[in-house]
Structure formats: C-alpha cells, structure tokens
Amino acid sequence: MLVMNMVQALNTALREEMRRDPRVVVLGEDVGRRGGVFLVTEGLIDEFGEERVIDTPLTEMGIVGVAIGMAMYGLRPVAEIQFIDFVYEAFDQIVSNAAKIRYRTGGMYSVPLVIRGPCCGGVKGGMHHSQSPEAYFGHTAGLITVMPSGPYDAKGLLKSAIRAEDPVIFLEPKSIYRIIREEVPEDDYTVPLGEGKIVREGSDVTLVTWGAMVHLSLEAAKLAAEKHGWSVEVIDLRTIFPFDKDLVIESLEKTERLVIVHEAPKSFGPGAEISAYIAENAIELLRSPIARVTGFDTPFPLAHEKYYMPNIARIYMALRKVMEY
C-alpha cells in the first residue's frame, strides 16, 4: 500500500475512474497543463488528452451548466470549482437544474455529475478562499453532499461520487490536502455515500463533525480525556447529506450528549439540521443541550482565522457545557 496525501489520493481516484470508464471527463479552470491550482488533476491531461481534461473559460456558471448537459447526454463529468467559494455563479445551474432535472423530467434524464473543489479555512485564504457552503447544498433536494477528512476516504468517496447516478457536491478541505498522509490501497475500493464513521470510540458524549474538523475534534477529545477523563465518541459524518442519522442515534443511545463541530457559520448552518433531527426524533436520549461549535456568523476573515474557526478551546468549552450540565 502506498502512503499518500489527499491530493494524491484524489488524483489517483480520478485517474483510475478515467481509465475504468471512458465517460468520465474532467473540466474546470486550469485543470489541464496547470493540473489545477492544488494539483489535484496533475498529469491527467498527459494521459487522457484535451478532450477529456478540459480547461474552460472563466465562468463557474458555464462549467456547471455545460457539465450538466454533458451528464444528460451520457458522460460522467467531474467539474472542478477552483475554490468552492466561487461556486455561487453556478448556483442557479446547480439548484434549478443539476438538482431538479431528474424530478422535472419524471426520471427520464439524470445528472450524474460531480462538482468538486477545495473548501474550508485554515490557510489564510480570506473571505473568498475559505468558505464551507455545505448547508446551501444540504438544503437542496436532489443533491448529495460529501466532505472527506483524509486520503483513504477521499479516494473511496470520490469514486463513489463519480459512479453515483445523482449529482454530488464533493468538498475537499484544503487545509489538510497535504498534511495528512495515510495508507491508501492501490486497488479499486469505494467508500459508500451516506455512511459516517466512528473515528474515536467513547461513552460520555458524541461529537459529530466532518472534514478538517475531525482532526481538531480528536485533539479536543484527547484533551478532554486527559484533563477530565471524559470519553468522547467522535463521528466523522463524511456525507453531510443524506447524513448517517442511524450512526448518530446509536452513539447517542450510549452517550446521551451531543456536540456538533463545523467550520460553516452557525445560524442556519449544517449543524442545525443534525440537532433538529435529534430534537425531533430522539430527544428522549438527551440529558443535556445540544452544543454547536462553528464558524461565527460573519464572512470568513483573513485576520485571526484561528479565532474565527472552531478551535480546541471552543470545542472544549462545548464539551464542558454538555458534560457539566
């Protein structure tokens, strides 16, 4: 098995899927010779040529709109948004079309499209290179929204996304593109969409999170264990919608306490749904409030991003709140 970082794992997934299935094409700004600004598509143009690795004009609306037409016709496009913060020009095409074409056509047409791009903060990217927009997509019926937290999942989830019959928004936390290295099997494997994963077992409190926050949450869990002996179960949701509600509920049956950690702003954020789902369907399990640790309700700042994003202190505060309730 090779040890890879997430960029390499994603690159491998694309390469393998493009070899396996001639319908898979990649398109976006700078995905060709440049290999993408983070090099996720590096080298693909050499192997698959300009017809399947397509440098596009600078319009996200065009990239997604055209990719939708490609998918309807029979290709399996993977559209790169250079930074996911720029996806909003394509929002109409995503919400009004990618998400709705199957429904609109009574199931006659589908849009097997992956829209992928780097998301989230932690690299001093400022307000337009740091966003976590998963709540917008989670609220859009017809989409599947995914965010891996490491190389192994990244490869397996991207393969599932490419093979899915429905549009998938694939968010890649850029702050961990290169710093987490893992063994990644060279053979073909997939990680199923819709399944979360317990990344640390625990019995006192369930911490639900995803993306780069998984690693921070694990650190906070360790700290809580060391300092107070609290046993924190950390769930990496992986698929943000439809999320693995059973895994969360099973965990809560044991822990009876819930903390949700995400980078996106708090209000109307992705954590709200997880909280509301539990408050609607399993409130009897809870013995304390559901705490959220999130980005603040502001644009993502360049200055002091470590204070803006969830950090260990803030996660610790939330754990303390639910444990000492």
């Binding site: 997604v64 490609m70 309807m72 016709y73 429904y103 009574g106 006659m108 047409y109």
Partner: protein
C-alpha cells in the same frame, strides 16, 4: 470583415414575403416537405388555441401562446434528424410536433394526468426522452449551456449528433446565454442556437433588452457566426437552419440564428399586454403572420387549394379534439409521485416523508378534511 460574418448578422434573410411572394430564387425544397411544414404549423396553431381554451376552463395551469411564432419553431426543428437533440423553450409547440410528439402526449403533459411523462413536475414545459427533446427549465435561458454540453459530449463520444436549442430575445441577457455561446465558440460545439426574437420579453421591449443592433450580431462576441432571418418565413428559417445543422455536423461548429418574429398573443394566459403595448402594433404585425402567408405561397405554387386547406384544418381539428377527450378522461397522477425521482433511490428522509404523506392522507379523512 466578412470573417466576422457581420453582413448576415445584420441582414434579414427571407425567401417568401408577407404576401406569399418569393423574394429571390424559388426554394428548392421538395413539395412534400413544404406541405409537412405547413401541416405542422397548422397543427401547432390548433393545439395552441386549444391550450388557451383549456387554460380558461381551468384544466391547464398556464399556457404561453405560440400564435405568430409557428414558422420559427417548425422551420428550425425540421432541419434536425431524429437522433439529434433538441432543447426547446416553452413556446415551440410546432417543434414538439416535428420531433414526433403527438397532440395527446402534449396534452397529457399539459393536463398532468396519469400519463404525464414528467409526472406533474412543472407547468408549460414539454418533451420526451424518446424524441430526444428535453423538457425546458422554466428559468429563462438555463437550457442554453445544457445544449452546449450535450453537443460537446456528442463530439467527445464520437457521435455525429447535432444539438439545437430555442430561446427568446429576453434570454440573450442571461448569464446562461453568455456562458453557453462562449463555450460553444471555444470548443466548436456542434450546436445551433435559435433565438425566437419576438420583440418582447413580457413587457420589456427589445430596445430595453439590449442596445446591440441585432441579436445575431452577438455571435461576434463569441466567434460564433450569426444569421438574422425572417422568423415568420418558415422556408427562410428552414434553409438557414439546414445550413447551420450541416455546419455543425461537419465539424465547423456552432451558429447563432436570430429568427425575427412577433408574439401576437399575450405573454402567457396570466398576462395583460394592453398594459404595455398598443393594439396598433399588434395589428401591424398581424400582417406578417406566418401561416397565412405560407398558405398563400403554397396556393400560388399549386401545392394547396382552399378545399384541401379546409380539409387539413378540419382533419387536425378533429384529431386534436379527440386527443383532448382522451387526455381529459385519464385519471390524475397518484399523490405519491410527488416524492419520486428526486434521486435514483429515495434516501431515508424521503422514505420517512412518504410515511408522513400517507399518514397525512389518513388523517385528512379522519378529520373530514377536503381531499383534493
């Protein structure tokens, strides 16, 4: 300068004038094709009028009248092969018929009865996979990049499919138009864009939509040849479309056709055009109305006479009435369709919501509440 194709983009190509007289050379189109064109236009007109009536009767949610624009829809779409793909807008009944949809199929859709292939998803949109005709998105212009993407895909897959898309003058202002035309130019996509320039976007006149001298000239901004044509002259539209389809099929790339026409009716059945345009203007354009003028041409050429014409209208009138009867008799869609076709497989949230829906129907009955 001619490399930019500016002359044709600023011109106004016509073959038959508003009196039915040939302008320039006689069209070398087989008589049967000419009669087909006429028949499609007649069928479209009959159906259009019925949809208006059905809307007034409360059977159809809304209808966007086609009156006056039949030539553009029929002429352009007749240039396609069956395997080609069409992305229409919401004002091309004629094109749907050309593609092979029957009146009944269109009516099942308009009435969203149990046979509606779109399962009641939206109003005023039509199409079917078996005719490679894609039901339009209601947001104006959304289908333009889809058409380009489909054309690019066909090219990548080595098919010789040509893709055509229709949209209105208003749609040229949308980002989708800009993105679609630009991609088509850059990637030489086998796609034909047909603007139905009917002079109005609801109440917004063309002069408020753009200061460009024509819409066809917009192709210059994308390296896409533009051709302006009399959209009420079915033969002119057909010829220009054949040329564009051939160009596309032979790998020469996209064409932007501006079919200059006029919407004689209201924007939709919900509109009141007297608020924004004069009766005189409409009267003026009535004289360019495409069916009458083409009929005159066909009669002058001896391909049609008053008698045959009357029979044609009667035949398709009867055909349409019967289709309506059948469509109206069909049962409504089952309620549960509203939860279908969101994903290839319903995830847990939709399964939960299906239970909620079923339970709500039971509770409605229990409470004695009106069920639709």
């Amino acid at each position: 300068m001619s490399g930019l194709g500016i002359d044709r983009a600023l011109g106004f190509y016509r073959v038959i004038d508003e009196e039915g007289r040939v302008v320039g050379e006689e069209p070398d189109i087989p008589s049967a094709t000419l009669i087909d064109m006429y028949t499609y236009m007649v069928r479209a007109r009959i159906l259009d009028e019925w949809l208006l009536k059905l809307q007034r009767m409360g059977k159809v949610a809304i209808h966007a009248p086609n009156r006056g624009q039949e030539a553009a829809a029929v002429g352009a779409s007749m240039a396609l092969r069956r395997e080609d793909w069409l992305f229409p807008s919401y004002r091309e009944l004629g094109a749907l018929l050309v593609r092979g949809m029957s009146e009944e199929e269109i009516l099942d859709r308009a009435l969203y009865n149990a046979d509606d292939p779109l399962k009641g998803s939206d109003f005023a949109i039509y199409g079917h996979r078996k005719y490679n005709t894609i039901p339009a998105p209601v947001p104006v212009g959304n289908q333009i990049p889809h058409a380009v993407g489909a054309a690019m895909a066909a090219k990548i897959m080595g098919h010789d499919t040509v893709v055509m898309t229709f949209f209105g003058d208003g749609a040229t202002s949308r980002g989708d138009f800009h993105a679609g035309l630009n991609f088509a130019g850059v990637f030489k996509a086998p796609v034909v864009f047909v603007i139905q320039n009917n002079m109005w976007a609801i109440s917004v006149p063309l002069s408020r939509q753009t200061k460009a001298p024509t819409l066809a000239i917009k192709g210059v901004a994308y390296g896409v040849p533009g051709i302006r044509v009399d959209g009420n002259d079915v033969v002119a539209v057909y010829r220009v479309a054949v040329e564009a389809v051939n160009r596309a099929r032979s790998g020469e790339g996209p064409t932007l056709i501006e079919a200059r026409t006029y919407r004689l009716g209201p924007h939709t059945t919900a509109d009141d055009p007297s608020r924004y345009r004069s009766e005189e203007e409409v009267k003026k354009y009535e004289k360019y109305e495409p069916i009458r003028r083409f009929r005159r041409y066909l009669i002058d050429r001896g391909l049609l006479d008053e008698e045959k014409d009357k029979e044609l209208w009667e035949k398709w009138g009867e055909h349409t009435r019967k289709a309506i009867e059948r469509s109206l008799e069909k049962p409504p869609l089952p309620v549960e369709v509203i939860l279908e076709d969101v994903y290839s497989e319903p995830p847990w949230n939709l399964r939960e919501q299906l239970r909620e829906l079923r339970e709500s129907i039971r509770v409605m009955k229990e409470l004695g509440l009106e069920v639709e």
